[in-house]
């Protein structure tokens, strides 16, 4: 049994199918969900976070079926940490007060232990010195870290982070990377992002979602490999590929399509591979489920 098991999971909103027959399992380590807007990333994360139920298929979080009974969903939630995509903060709460509120919701009922836990998670995200500050006075990146801190309360076995890097500067991203790699030795960390750099820096495994389907599921290295021999550097602009842009050196990077005249083949990046994967011109590798 994995920490998270999704089997044939589908979810629709009205006539729109957000997830279609998705089968995935998650164990210890950091998995990045990559995909364009509307690909189903947030829906998938909300199902794992027990925020919504799938229409069809089986969901098991830490061995519990959250739709089976109240007891089952509570057991699943005891091992979950969740950072939603949009997290509002009550007007007058302090950083400490906010995380403490969530700690109470997570059944940290003993005041002294709860206070220590709140300080611990605030230290983890580098906000230990701002505990008494009102959340409304923080910057966007600091608020995102408050959101992350509440998700870390109680060392959850399954950590679900919907776009955790939004608003973080490079130094804060580096801190997040260190924090997550420590947590991922004991927990399954699922995060969604639009940024391929985040996946390259943070994740061992990447799942590419498009239109509610899993396009790729494997290591970051394997995803990059799917683009080998399909990325070019050309002196002239070319419109034949999936994407092309002028680089800082004045040459043109061409992703996919036939080799432009005079162009040389270059090492693909994760972003190249992702663009090709979304375009669907790369044959599905073995790792795809």
């Amino acid at each position: 049994m994995s920490l998270v098991d999704l089997l044939g999971v589908s979810k629709s909103y009205g006539g729109t199918r957000a997830l279609d027959d998705v089968t995935l399992t998650f164990d210890r380590g950091v998995t990045g969900l990559l995909g364009p807007n509307g690909a189903g990333k947030t829906t998938l994360l909300r199902i794992v976070a027990t925020s919504i139920a799938a229409d069809r298929g089986s969901t098991r979080i830490l061995g519990h079926d959250p739709t089976a009974s109240h007891g089952e969903v509570v057991e699943a939630r005891r091992g979950l940490g969740y950072l939603p995509q949009e997290l509002g903060f009550p007007h007058d709460m302090t950083v400490f007060g906010f995380v403490e509120y969530v700690a109470v919701l997570k059944e940290w009922n003993q005041a002294a232990a709860r206070s220590r836990e709140v300080h611990r998670v605030l230290d983890l995200v580098g906000l230990g010195d701002l505990a008494a500050k009102r959340v409304r006075k923080l910057s966007g990146g600091q608020r995102r870290r408050v959101g992350l801190a509440q998700a870390l309360v109680g060392n959850p076995q399954v950590l679900v982070l919907d776009e955790p890097t939004t608003g973080l500067d490079p130094a804060q991203r580096a801190t997040l990377r260190r924090t997550l790699s420590t947590i991922a030795s004991e927990s399954a960390v699922l995060l969604s992002t639009h940024q391929t750099e985040d996946v390259a820096a943070l994740c061992e495994r990447v799942v590419v979602l498009a239109e509610g389907h899993v396009r790729f599921d494997g290591s970051v290295v394997d995803l990059v490999r799917t683009a080998e021999g399909r990325v070019w550097l050309s002196d002239e602009p070319a419109e034949t590929g999936v994407a092309a842009w002028r680089t800082g050196t004045g040459r043109h990077r061409v992703v996919g399509g036939p080799r432009p005249p005079g162009a040389e083949s270059v090492e693909p990046s994760l972003e190249d591979a992702y663009l090709l994967m979304l375009d669907g011109r790369v044959p599905a590798p073995d790792a795809v489920t």
Partner: protein, 279 residues
Amino acid sequence: MSTPVTGHGWHADDELLAGYTSGSLRAIEAASVEQHLVHCADCRAALRPHTDVVTLDQAWLSVRDRVERRPQPAAVRLARRLGLQEPTSVLLAATVTLRTAWLASAFIALGFAFVASRFSEGTTLWPFLLVAPLVPVLGVASAYGSSEDALDSLVATSPYGRTRLVLVRTIAVLVVALPFAALMGLSLPGPPWVAVAWLGPALMLVPILLALASFVGPAPASAVVALGWAGVVTMSVRHLTPTWPVESEVQLTMLALATLSAAVLLVRARTTRMIGGLW
């Protein structure tokens, strides 16, 4: 006991440092070592093997906890004095919407009771009978928080759960709003039993609201309940006696509706596959 060195003169040796960390030095020696440690990085580094990092961490956390812990807000202290458990007090006091709801409920009840008793000269009951039974209902509806409740997604996915939080808030609203409105009821014109009778619909409208809310959400449900009750009161003003909304036949009808609502809630709690209960 000390090792002569260059520079500042000496460094504390292992024996001295061990004595310092174990607390076995005499006070004057300990003070001297402590003073030296403040200024000497080498000796601070040498002290490290003598210290238990875990214990030190715990001690530091405990000191920090004491220094940084802010006094609990007045609302938490009050709730605890009333016998609530500390975690429940934290949840209730942290909810701005709830505090607003309490105040709003109280002021509405006060305002209308005052209007009814002051300006009717003992002949008009309907303002009070219209509003007072709705005070707990609207308070309960506001206890859900708005649909854009900043914390809703976290509440909904926590082990504590939205259902339990709504119920706790509901009870809190009733405890605060009802006695206040009841006091106002005592100052009403008209038959004395009315001062108590309005509590019947006030309590029976709550399960009706909760049952409706499980289908359509709190805001539409509270609108339906408020309009329904307003219809009952309006009808009495036009065609019946002023006390009709709280007389026994209406009370019995409402009791039947409330019982039905409780049954609906029970059935939905057992059959729905919605995650985290009804709400």
